[in-house]
């Protein structure tokens, strides 16, 4: 969607979720900058500190034309959820989801120590997709981590998901606004690789139909 | 004998204080370790069955089953167990000399077995200060360095498990009655491991009435003889009722009553004084310091004894019947006491499995518990 298009809701509520270390904070910051540059008011609430150590993390983005909104989103109010880890999508859906929510989900599991140690079982992929699909209006499942590893570093998965969001054409995000936002917070030598990841994410989404 | 898991072992044997620190559960896995005479389970293991439980001589001891494993019928209840011959013995001129407690019979037999390739390694017990340490010995000349008794419980069988891990296939094991029981259990492959092969070629049991808690003994000596290096501890034959601690320049006599509290709880439930499940068993000869009593039990034991004597490693004399009486009485007392306690605490032929349950046929039980100190008293 072009950068001058209208928001489909105000405040428009976006959640980025994942596991500590997956680049959640960076992704929210890039998106926040994209919308700030376009003149929107942006509020981001996120998880820092102890909770980052292998725990579930979540950023709430509130994008508005009118003002500053709460950094904590009220229950059931998400428009879009970007999930860097599939079971985290479920957790966020339970708190902030609704039948209209749109979901972009990276398929790569990150096992918690409860799963690693055998105290809990990680669900089957197809079962997970079924659940996530049932709880959302549209859901895309993307192998972002795998594609990122092909690029040489799994950390690019977060940027690929932003590329995918742009390609999903629901929000005013495009390559130029992305590049400008990334340049604001990253050293110049890293911009090109991130743009590549952004493009790869977009291509991945366009090749896929939403759904399990 | 039913095999349970490490959790059961921990609950039944370690937490109840019945563990005698024999070392049978050490080096099998990353969970059981021994340090300064105490066995610890460092992390929990949730297996339903484990070798740790299967090898432990303190979970439950089925004497009839052990007896059958030894190729005998149901357990007799005889004070010395089954045997072929009893000798007075001491090391012969061909054996390497060491600081023997008594006649050096054990060192001579092990040395001979190593020399002749009957065993590829010997599982022995050394000492670091007063603290016993298991040792795996492969050279004849090293054997003498491990001579001499300790009275603190020793995790000797840790060295056996280590030997298995290192690929030794014909080990000779020297150990106390509880350790001989554990070895008998191990050799039966109770976990039905497909790749199992018996790693033990010879077992030499040591007479034992009880063992002391190693840390307790260290602490006692530190308090009793502060700052002194104790080189040796010995217990002279009855009726002395003392323990002698030898330091660099003097020997201190300590009444056995003073150390009674340090005797391991698990020893009180042990009915075996003469290591009935070994090929041969060796102990002091109370009337003749410098000689050992040698009980030959199995064919393998008989052969070894005969060959070692022929080769000059060992000197043996038939022990007259009269000399056995004393030994039999002492062994019978241990049986009576153990079964007496076990009956009192409901541990004999209990329907429940472990800890320290003793199983035995009624006839043998009757034989063992009759007389002074027993349940019928």
């Amino acid at each position: 969607m072009a950068a001058d298009a209208k928001l489909p809701g105000d405040p428009y509520n976006l959640v980025i979720t994942g596991v500590g270390g997956q680049g959640n904070v960076l992704a929210s910051r890039v998106l926040g900058n994209i919308f700030t540059q376009q003149g929107y008011r942006v509020t981001i609430g996120e998880t820092f500190g102890a909770s980052q150590r292998g725990g579930s993390v979540m950023s709430h983005l509130r994008i508005s034309e009118t003002g500053t909104w709460s950094p904590r989103m009220p229950r059931g109010r998400a428009h879009v959820i970007i999930s860097l880890e599939p079971t985290e999508a479920l957790r966020v859906l339970a708190d902030y989801g609704n039948p209209e929510v749109i979901l972009l989900c990276n398929t790569r599991p990150v096992h918690s120590i409860a799963v690693i140690s055998g105290q809990a079982r990680y669900p089957q992929q197809d079962q997970l997709r079924q659940w996530i699909g049932d709880l959302s209006a549209r859901a895309w499942f993307l192998e972002a981590t795998r594609a990122a590893m092909e690029m040489g570093n799994p950390i690019f998965a977060n940027i690929m998901m932003i590329g995918a969001l742009a390609a999903a054409d629901i929000l005013p995000v495009d390559k130029d606004s992305f590049k400008a936002a990334v340049s604001q917070i990253m050293p110049e030598d890293k911009v090109a690789a991130n743009c590549l990841a952004f493009d790869r994410g977009g291509q991945m989404l366009l090749k896929k139909e939403p759904g399990p | 004998m039913q095999v349970l898991g490490p959790g059961d072992l921990h609950r039944e044997v370690l937490e109840t204080g019945l563990c005698v620190g024999c070392g049978a559960c050490i080096h099998l896995c990353p969970y059981f370790h021994t340090w300064q005479g105490k066995t610890a389970m460092v992390f929990s293991c949730n297996r339903q069955k484990g070798r740790c439980h299967a090898f432990c001589p303190k979970t439950e001891v089925d004497l009839d089953a052990l007896s059958r494993l030894a190729g005998l019928g149901e357990y007799s209840g005889d004070p010395l167990g089954a045997y072929q011959q009893i000798f007075a013995a001491r090391a012969g001129d061909a054996a390497v000399r060491g600081d023997f407690q008594d006649g050096g019979t054990v060192s001579a037999l092990i040395g001979y077995a190593l020399e002749t390739g009957r065993i590829d390694a010997a599982v022995l017990t050394g000492k670091k200060g007063l603290m016993p340490e298991p040792a795996l010995v492969t050279r004849v000349r090293d054997v003498a360095g491990y001579a001499g008794s300790g009275y603190a419980a020793a995790p000797t069988l840790a060295a056996l498990n280590q030997g298995v891990n290192q690929g030794y296939q014909q080990m000779g094991v020297v150990g106390t009655p509880c350790q001989m029981t554990a070895v008998a259990l191990m050799r039966e492959n109770p976990m039905a491991d497909e790749n199992f092969s018996d790693p033990v070629a010879l077992t030499i049991g040591l007479f034992c009435t009880w063992a002391l808690d190693a840390r307790g003994l260290m602490a006692f000596m530190e308090k009793r003889l502060p700052g002194e290096e104790i080189r040796k501890i010995r217990i002279p034959p009855p009726p002395a009722e003392i323990l002698v601690a030898e330091t660099r320049n003097h020997a201190v006599e300590i009444a056995l009553d003073e150390i009674r509290d340090l005797v391991l709880q698990g020893c009180g439930l042990c009915p075996d004084m003469t290591a009935e499940w070994a090929d041969v068993s060796v102990g002091a000869m109370e009337q003749n310091p410098g000689y050992n009593t040698l009980v030959v039990r199995t064919e393998k034991g008989r052969q070894l004894t005969a060959d070692a004597a022929a080769a000059g490693y060992l000197e043996v004399w038939d022990l007259p019947q009269s000399g056995r009486g004393c030994l039999e009485r002492a062994a019978a007392v241990k049986k009576r006491r153990a079964f007496g306690r076990a009956v009192e605490t409901g541990r004999v032929n209990s329907e429940k499995i472990g800890p320290a349950v003793l199983r035995v046929n009624a006839r043998a039980l009757e034989k063992m518990t009759a007389g002074p100190g027993g349940a019928h008293e």
């Binding site: 270390g21 926040g32 709460s70 989801g97 690693i116 055998g118 809990a120 | 099998l28």
Partner: protein
């Protein structure tokens, strides 16, 4: 470009609350900033340190919060503007000095910014700093959004100079660590020269010596300052009211709760029935202003985090004014309209408003909620916090756990504050059995270590991080040495304040501003204090275990073991795995007797997974940090490592 210094006046940026606070201090012409790292406060000093050279200011990570307050106060005494930053717990540490400081007054503007952590997202208590403002008798400001976070800092400096005393600006996690749009103001081009004037008359607040004595005189002066601040508060533009002239309900709030209230009123469509009085000046309350709004209605809802601070102060005021304005029904925490513990949330406010106005509100259908709840239950296994892959603490706790188990005397570890506090949880094998304030681990151990004569024969271990060591462990260690307590102190030296983002500490060769600084050697300090000290590497597991075992089991007074290994995330090591890791499924014993999944079931590094299909362990190549430690954990030798070149 660093937007903190180079952002143009009028430019609107997306800033984290802590960045906005830092920018506010710069716009106010701060000269000196000092603090001690602590979530959620750390980015304020960090941001200032990053631009220290460009802005011509002095910034330091002080050894602890009390010293930070002293360092900042010195600048104020010398006529400079100074900022002092800490998390709430730090105010407890600094409070002894602060009470004296507030009694004696300041000169150059001095602002104290405590960042509270309602809900204890990164803390082990949710105690708060507001009551310190009351205790210290200093003005308290609370920004209600990101713009205010910047602007009120500037105002706080002015107020501080106006009254000649310290001003507190309280932030919370959801402001400090949230981001919003901030319009920048101009930067100053003048900074005063530092000079401490002390030759004047003793009672002269500008020229005499600085002290809280003579107490009665100074205390009286202090209260006059507070009244002056209260007067200023009556007209402060930061106190705002939105809503109808005579609302059915007056909602009074402050800080991040302001945003929650605004949204709750909007969602329930109550804009013409409920009024929102957002207070920026919460101590002392502007009595006239609050009284004026109380007069407009009979019903009040007070929304705040965490203790009922506003509630109590407003109730006192309402009682004082009752004859004039009539009795009020006040809903808040004490009547259970709102929860009395944990973070506030828009949904809490929605629920309170719905109850008061007798509205029904359903965020999503009960059907959806139930379905989603079941999915989480079935499909989203819990995610307990864990040490990062490659973290030295996992190895250290593995060793500690083994040592205490082998020692076999029901030994225990007294915990302290840092990443390694996770040692209280599964990832640290539940090793920590006490956990209190910074340095308390060693203090408690010192006490436990004297209980031998009362029959205690357990081994006692305390742990400390390298930064914590300097902060508060040293006095406790002196105590333990002097009284010959039988304890072992294990210092987890991971070369930085890892928990809060690698702030330097006195043990390192660089300071906050990146300048080289003389490092204070922990090992040398311990030796000088008289503790027998050994340095080892937690990744050399067997060797370190043996060393620690000897120390823990002996009864030889205070022993120190420094486990030295840089944090896996440290800037020096980031993204550089030391080893290539391999796992041979043929050798892996898996769940069989002899291993039973030691690496995944027990060691639990996130870099290892259990392969259910092949019944063996597997290395997760995305997560594994290549530290090589699991090769020492594997009992079968199935895990091997190869040094990367």
């Amino acid at each position: 470009m660093n937007e903190l210094t180079e952002g143009r006046p009028g430019q609107r940026l997306l800033m984290m609350g802590n960045q906005a606070i830092a920018r506010g201090a710069l716009e106010a012409g701060v000269s000196v900033a000092a603090g001690y790292p602590g979530t959620p406060s750390s980015e304020i000093i960090e941001n200032l340190a990053g631009v220290a050279a460009a802005a011509g200011i002095y910034v330091e990570w002080s050894v602890n919060e009390k010293v930070a307050a002293e360092v900042a106060a010195a600048a104020s005494f010398a006529g400079l503007r100074s900022l002092c930053v800490m998390k709430q717990n730090g105010v407890n540490v600094a409070s002894d000095f602060l009470l004296h400081l507030a009694g004696g007054g300041t000169r150059g503007g001095m602002v104290l910014v405590p960042c509270d952590d309602p809900g204890a997202l990164s803390s082990i208590n949710e105690g708060e700093s507001r009551h310190f403002a009351r205790l210290l008798e200093i003005p308290l400001l609370e920004p209600g959004d990101f713009q205010e976070a910047k602007d009120m800092i500037k105002w706080a400096f002015e107020l501080s100079e106006q009254i000649g005393n310290l001003v507190m600006v309280r932030s919370v996690t959801r402001l400090s660590h949230a981001s919003g749009n901030v319009e920048l103001g101009p930067m100053p081009d003048f900074r005063p020269k530092a000079r401490f004037r002390h030759t004047g008359f003793i009672l002269d607040p500008r020229q005499g010596a600085v002290s809280s004595a003579p107490v009665a005189y100074k205390h009286d002066l202090q209260q006059q300052k507070l009244e002056k601040a209260q007067d200023a508060f009556e007209n402060a533009l930061f106190n705002t009211y939105t809503g109808p002239e005579n609302p059915e309900l007056l909602v009074i709030t402050a800080s991040a709760c302001n945003l929650y209230c605004r949204e709750a009123i909007e969602i329930l469509g109550l804009s013409d029935r409920a009024g929102l009085l957002k207070l920026a000046t919460t101590w002392p309350l502007p009595n006239n202003l609050v009284g004026r709004y109380l007069e407009k209605t009979g019903r009040v809802l007070i929304v705040e985090e965490v203790i009922p601070f506003l509630e109590e102060n407003i109730k006192i005021l309402a009682a004082e004014l009752a004859l004039e304005i009539g009795a009020k029904t006040i809903h808040a925490k004490r009547d259970k309209t709102l929860p009395s513990v944990g973070e506030m949330h828009p949904d809490h406010v929605i629920a309170a408003l719905a109850k008061i106005f007798d509205l029904s509100y359903e965020a999503v259908s009960a059907d959806y909620t139930e379905k989603a709840g079941l999915c989480v239950l079935a499909g989203a296994p819990g995610r307990d916090l864990t040490f990062c892959p490659g973290c030295p603490h996992r190895a250290s706790y593995w060793i500690l756990h083994n040592v205490l188990a082998l020692d076999n005397r029901e030994g225990f570890v007294c915990g302290d504050i840092g990443c390694y506090s996770l040692g209280m949880r599964e990832t640290g094998y539940f090793s920590l059995k006490t956990m209190h304030a910074m340095g308390s681990g060693t203090g408690l151990a010192s006490g436990f270590g004297k209980l031998g004569p009362f029959g205690m024969d357990q081994s006692i271990v305390a742990v400390s991080g390298d930064s914590t060591f300097f902060h508060a462990v040293m006095p406790a260690l002196v105590n333990a040495v002097h009284y010959n307590a039988d304890i072992t102190l294990v210092v987890f030296d991971n070369s930085g304040t890892a928990m809060t983002g690698f702030q330097p500490h006195p043990g390192l060769e660089t300071d906050a501003m990146g300048q080289s600084a003389p490092a204070v050697d922990i090992e040398a300090v311990c030796r000088a204090l008289g503790a027998q000290t050994t340095v080892c590497d937690p990744f050399e597991m067997d060797q370190t275990r043996d060393i620690l075992l000897e120390k823990v089991s002996g009864k030889n007074g205070v022993q120190v073991v420094i486990m030295r290994r840089a944090c896996a995330l440290s800037p020096a090591r980031r993204g550089r795995p030391e080893y290539e890791m391999y796992l041979d499924p043929q050798i892996c014993i898996g769940e069989n007797c002899g291993c039973n999944k030691l690496c995944t079931r027990v060691f639990k590094c996130p870099g290892l997974n259990w392969d259910d299909q092949n019944r063996c362990a597997r290395i997760d190549e995305v997560i594994c940090a290549g530290c090589g430690v699991c090769a020492s954990v594997c009992p079968a030798g199935a895990i091997t490592r190869k040094k990367r070149t």
